[in-house]
C-alpha cells in the first residue's frame, strides 16, 4: 500500500519490474567473494588473541613457517606504524594487533598455506607471550573513576585534550530551560534502560582474494559495501599508493553497515606479496561474531516532562554507548537521532566509552535504535499516564518542516506526521486488539547522507543502454538506477543493463551507507542521462536536418515539427556518422539527503509461563520520498523490522568475565527466522524530498529504529510492567513478571 502526495506521472519510476540481478541469484550464478578462485591460490588463516586485553611481549613464528604447505606468515611487525591521529590507524590496528591485543579474537598473526587446514594448523603453532592487562567490559567499568585504559591510544574526539582516555566522544546538547520546564510539568516520567551488543547478522561472512603481482600492483576481489573504501583503507593501512590497488566488487550477501570497513584485505595483500601467490581469506561464522563490528551496547537514563494536554515540554537524559576497543563516533551520531519531537527544552549528553570488545560498526541507522528504544518507551508511559492515544500524543508533538533538528538547524520537508496518520488510519490500528494480546506503537528517525557518486551511461548501437556505477548493490540499487535511467531516456527498463564496476572502470564513489545509493548515485545517473538526452537531441537534429532547438525529447524519441519521431535506436544506429559513441559520465557530491521517519505498530502476546513473546501482527509506515522500486522499499522496511524484532527479543552477545563471547554461532546467537515472524505489512508514505530530481529519500536504515520500543511498549501494556532491558528474552520477561 502506498500513500502519495501529488507528483508527476511517471512511466517507469514506481513500477516493480523483475530485478536485473534476480536470475543470477535464483539459479546460483551470482558470484560472491568466496566463489572466486585462482590458479596457485593460497588460503589464509588467523591466530587470534585468547585474552581480552594483553600486552604482546613476543611472537615466535619459526615453527609455523616450516610447516607443510606454509608460504607466508605476517604479524603486526609487517605493517607500517601509522601515527596517532591518522584516520585509518585504528582500522589497521583492529585488523592486526601491534603492541597489545585489545579483545578476545583480535588477530595477532596470519598464515597463508596451500590449504586452509594447513594454514590453520600453522597459525595454531605460532607462539605468543602475553602480559595480561585489566579487561574493561562495560560502560560502567569504562567510566569508573580510576578505570584501567581499554586502549591507551585513545583520545576523546573534539575535546582538545591529548590525554589518554576511555571516552571516545562526549556530546552535550542543550536548548531552552530544562529545569523550569520540569518544575512546571504536570507529568514527569523517568526511566533507565540498557541494550546488549548485537550483530548485523549478514549471512555472507567477510571474504576476499588478493593477488599482488611482481610489479607490486594488487588485484582485490572483495565483499563490501564500498569497494572504493576497501581500496582507500587498504592503501592507508599499508601506506601504499592508491593506484597500486584495484578492487573488483563481488555480489554481497548482506552488510547492513557491517561491511563499511575492512578486516581482511591488507592482511591478504601482505601474505600475497610475501608468497607471490593469490591469497584467499574467508571468515568463519565464529570469527564474524567474535571479531567484526557489532552495534554498541548501550545504557541510558531518560526523563520527559509533559503537560496534561499532551505537550512534551522537556527531555533530559544521558545515553552511553560501549563502542569497543577503538574510538568511534557512535556516541556523537546517537546525538543526531533525537529529532522527532519539538521538545522546546532539551538537555542531553551522549557518550561513547571504550571497552575491550570488538571495534563496533554501523548497523543500519547507527546508534539511533538504542536512543529510540529509551525515548519512545518513556513517551509511551506518558501517553498511559495521560490516558491519551499514543499516536495522538505523538501527532501533537511531531516535528514538521522548520522545527529544529538535533544539530540545531531546521528540518526540511519531512513526512513524520504523514507516517503517524498512515498508521492511525490503517486497518491494523483501527482493528480490535486480539484477545489476550496488547498493541504497541513506536517511531524512528534517521537523517541519511549524500556524499560522492559517479555514473557512466553508455548507449549501445541498437538503442540499449548500460548504466555503470560504483555503488555495491546491497538493497536493490541496480534496479533503481535502471528505472531512473529508463524514465529519463524513455526506453524499456529491461533494455538497460545496470552494472557495478571496479575501481578502475568508474569514477570514485563513496561507500554504500547512510541510505545514500539510490539518492546520490541515482542523482548521478539522472544527471548523466539528462546530459545524454541533450546530446541525443543534437544528433537527431543532424539526422533530421533541423535546428538543434527544434528537437524535443518525448517518450524515448526525438520529435520535431513536420518530421516522423526518431526513436533512440535510430539515433544510436547513426552514432558513428554523427559524432561517435554516445556516452556520458556524471559525478557529484550530493547535498540534501532527505530525513526519513517510520512509525510501527505491533500486536503481541506474552506467555506467562515461559516468558516468550510472540509477535502476532506488525505494520510499518515509512516515508520513502518517492519509491523508485516499491518492492525493494518494502523489502528494506521488512528487513529492518525483522532485524529489530531480533534485537528486541533475542539477540545479545554473552561474554564471560574475561571478555570471551560464549555464543558465537547462529545456534546460540538467536536471529529471528521466518517462523518467528508474522507477515510484516508495509505502508509506503511518499513525501518527496525536494532535493532529489525524483524526490528520493533513503529507506535502508530507518526501519530498524522503531521495533525495539514498539515491541517493548506492547509487552509492557500486555504485562503491566515496563520492560527496560534488551533483549526481552524469556528469562528477563519472566523475571519482570515475577516482580509485578
Amino acid at each position: 500500500m502506498t500513500i502519495t502526495e501529488d507528483r508527476p506521472a511517471y512511466k517507469w519510476v514506481g513500477t516493480r519490474p523483475i530485478r536485473h540481478d534476480g536470475y543470477d541469484k535464483v539459479v546460483g550464478k551470482a558470484r560472491f567473494a568466496a566463489d572466486r578462485n585462482f590458479p596457485g591460490q593460497l588460503h589464509g588463516a588467523f591466530l587470534r588473541s585468547p585474552h581480552g586485553h594483553a600486552r604482546i611481549l613476543a611472537i615466535d613464528t619459526a615453527a609455523a613457517e616450516v610447516m607443510p604447505g606454509v608460504k607466508a606468515v605476517v604479524t603486526g611487525a609487517d605493517f607500517p606504524d601509522l601515527p596517532v591521529g591518522n584516520p585509518e590507524r585504528d582500522t589497521g590496528i583492529n585488523l592486526m594487533a601491534r603492541d597489545a591485543a585489545l579483545y578476545v579474537g583480535h588477530v595477532v598473526a596470519a598464515v597463508a598455506a596451500s590449504t586452509r587446514a594447513e594454514a590453520e594448523a600453522a597459525a595454531a603453532a605460532i607462539e605468543v607471550r602475553y602480559e595480561l592487562l585489566p579487561v574493561v567490559l562495560s560502560i560502567d567499568e569504562s567510566m569508573a573513576d580510576g578505570a584501567p585504559l581499554a586502549n591507551p591510544d585513545n583520545r576523546t574526539a573534539f575535546s582538545g585534550s591529548d590525554d589518554p582516555s576511555n571516552l571516545a566522544t562526549v556530546t552535550p546538547l542543550e536548548r531552552g530551560d530544562v529545569d523550569a520546564a520540569f518544575e512546571a510539568a504536570d507529568v514527569v516520567v523517568e526511566r533507565e534502560f540498557d541494550t546488549a551488543w548485537v550483530h548485523q547478522g549478514y549471512i555472507e561472512p567477510h571474504a576476499c582474494v588478493v593477488d599482488v603481482g611482481p610489479d607490486g600492483r594488487a588485484d582485490v576481489w572483495a565483499s563490501s559495501q564500498g569497494h572504493f573504501r576497501v581500496r582507500s583503507q587498504t592503501a592507508a593501512v599499508l601506506d601504499w599508493d592508491t593506484a597500486r590497488i584495484k578492487v573488483t566488487p563481488a555480489e554481497i550477501g548482506g552488510g547492513f553497515g557491517g561491511k563499511t570497513t575492512i578486516y581482511l584485505e591488507p592482511v591478504a595483500a601482505l601474505l600475497s606479496e610475501k608468497s607471490g601467490r593469490p591469497v584467499k581469506i574467508v571468515m568463519t561464522r565464529d570469527e564474524v561474531l567474535r571479531a567484526t563490528g557489532p552495534a554498541p551496547a548501550s545504557k541510558s537514563r531518560i526523563r520527559i516532562a509533559a503537560t496534561n494536554d499532551g505537550e512534551l515540554t522537556a527531555i533530559d537524559g544521558w545515553i552511553g554507548y560501549a563502542v569497543g576497543c577503538t574510538n568511534d563516533m557512535a556516541g556523537f551520531v546517537g546525538a543526531m537521532s533525537v529529532a522527532s519531537y519539538k521538545f522546546p527544552n532539551l538537555k542531553m549528553e551522549f557518550v561513547g566509552a571504550l571497552t575491550n570488545t570488538p571495534r563496533s560498526a554501523a548497523y543500519r541507522a547507527p546508534s539511533a535504535p538504542q536512543a529510540a528504544f529509551a525515548i519512545e518507551s518513556v513517551i509511551d508511559e506518558i501517553a498511559q499516564a495521560l490516558d491519551m492515544d499514543p499516536i495522538e500524543l505523538r501527532l501533537k508533538n511531531a516535528v514538521v518542516e522548520g522545527d529544529l533538528t538535533s544539530m540545531g538547524g531546521p528540518h526540511p520537508r519531512v513526512g513524520f506526521v504523514e507516517c503517524l496518520e498512515a498508521i492511525r488510519d490503517s486497518e491494523h490500528y483501527r482493528s480490535s486488539v486480539p484477545e489476550g494480546a496488547a498493541r504497541g506503537i513506536g517511531t524512528g528517525f534517521w537523517f541519511n547522507i549524500g556524499e560522492q557518486s559517479s555514473a557512466t551511461v553508455n548507449l549501445n548501437e541498437d538503442g540499449t543502454a548500460t548504466v555503470i556505477t560504483g555503488s555495491p548493490d546491497i538493497g536493490g540499487s541496480r534496479a533503481s538506477m535502471a528505472l531512473m535511467a529508463a524514465e529519463e531516456l524513455g526506453i524499456d527498463v529491461h533494455r538497460i543493463t545496470p552494472v557495478v564496476a571496479d575501481t578502475e572502470s568508474v569514477g570514485f564513489t563513496d561507500v554504500t551507507e547512510g541510505s545514500r545509493a539510490t539518492f546520490a548515485t541515482g542523482m548521478a545517473v539522472v544527471n548523466a542521462c539528462r546530459e545524454l538526452v541533450e546530446e541525443l537531441k543534437a544528433r537527431a537534429a543532424t539526422i533530421l536536418g533541423v535546428g538543434a532547438d527544434a528537437v524535443e525529447w518525448v517518450d524515448g524519441a526525438a520529435v520535431a515539427a513536420d518530421k516522423d519521431p526518431l526513436p533512440l535506436a535510430g539515433i544510436t544506429a547513426k552514432a558513428k556518422g554523427t559524432g561517435g559513441p554516445l556516452t556520458v559520465t556524471a559525478s557529484l557530491n550530493a547535498g540534501g539527503a532527505g530525513p526519513s521517519f517510520a512509525v510501527h505498530c505491533c500486536d503481541v502476546v506474552v506467555d506467562d509461563e515461559t516468558g516468550r513473546v510472540e509477535v502476532l501482527r506488525y505494520t510499518t509506515a515509512q516515508d520513502a520520498g518517492t519509491a523508485i522500486h516499491p518492492s525493494y522499499v518494502e523489502g528494506q522496511m521488512q528487513g529492518g523490522t525483522a532485524q529489530g524484532i531480533g534485537w528486541a527479543l533475542n539477540e545479545e552477545y554473552v561474554y564471560d568475565d574475561d571478555g570471551t563471547m560464549l555464543n558465537a554461532s547462529f545456534l546460540d546467537y538467536r536471529v529471528p527466522v521466518a517462523s518467528d515472524l508474522p507477515m510484516i505489512e508495509t505502508i509506503i508514505v511518499e513525501v518527496p524530498n525536494p532535493a532529489h530530481p525524483y524526490g528520493v529519500r533513503g529507506v535502508g536504515e530507518t526501519g530498524i529504529v522503531p521495533p525495539m520500543a514498539t515491541i517493548a511498549n506492547a509487552v509492557s501494556r500486555a504485562t503491566g510492567v515496563r520492560l527496560s532491558s534488551l533483549p526481552m528474552s524469556p528469562p528477563k520477561v519472566l523475571a519482570a513478571l515475577d516482580e509485578r
Binding site: A157, F158, G160, V170, T171, P172, L173, E174, Q200, F256, G257, G258, T260, M329, F332, V333, M336, A361, A362, Y363, R364, A365, P366, T405, M407, G408, G409, P410, H411, P412, W446, F447, N448, I449, G450, E451, Q452, E513, G514, S515, R516, N589, G591, G592, A593, A691, G698, G700, E701
Partner: protein, 81 residues
C-alpha cells in the same frame, strides 16, 4: 552577514557562543574568520566535515557558497549503516 551555528560540544571552543555572525562568501571563508576570532575553533570545524546550510546537509562544504543571510550549522562527521 551569514550566521554560524555551533552545536553544544563546539561552544567550548568559542567562549560559549552558540551563534556567531561572520563574514564569508563560502563555508571555508567563514571557518577562517571563526578561527581568527576563536583560535583553535577552525580545526574543530574542519574535523567536523559536514555542514547544514539553509536546511540541507553537505559533506566537506569548504567551497560551498553561502548567501549573506545564510544560516550555517556545523556538524561533526556523519555516518550511516
Amino acid at each position: 552577514m551569514p550566521r554560524a551555528h555551533l552545536m553544544t560540544p563546539l561552544r567550548r571552543f568559542a567562549d560559549g557562543e552558540s551563534v556567531i555572525e561572520v563574514e564569508g562568501a563560502t563555508v571555508g571563508e567563514m571557518i577562517v574568520e571563526l578561527d581568527r576570532l576563536f583560535p583553535g575553533l577552525g580545526e574543530m570545524l574542519t574535523m567536523g566535515s559536514s555542514a547544514a546550510v539553509d536546511g540541507l546537509i553537505h559533506a566537506e562544504p569548504e567551497f560551498l557558497a553561502v548567501e549573506p543571510d545564510a544560516d550555517v550549522y556545523f556538524v561533526a562527521p556523519l555516518t550511516g549503516g
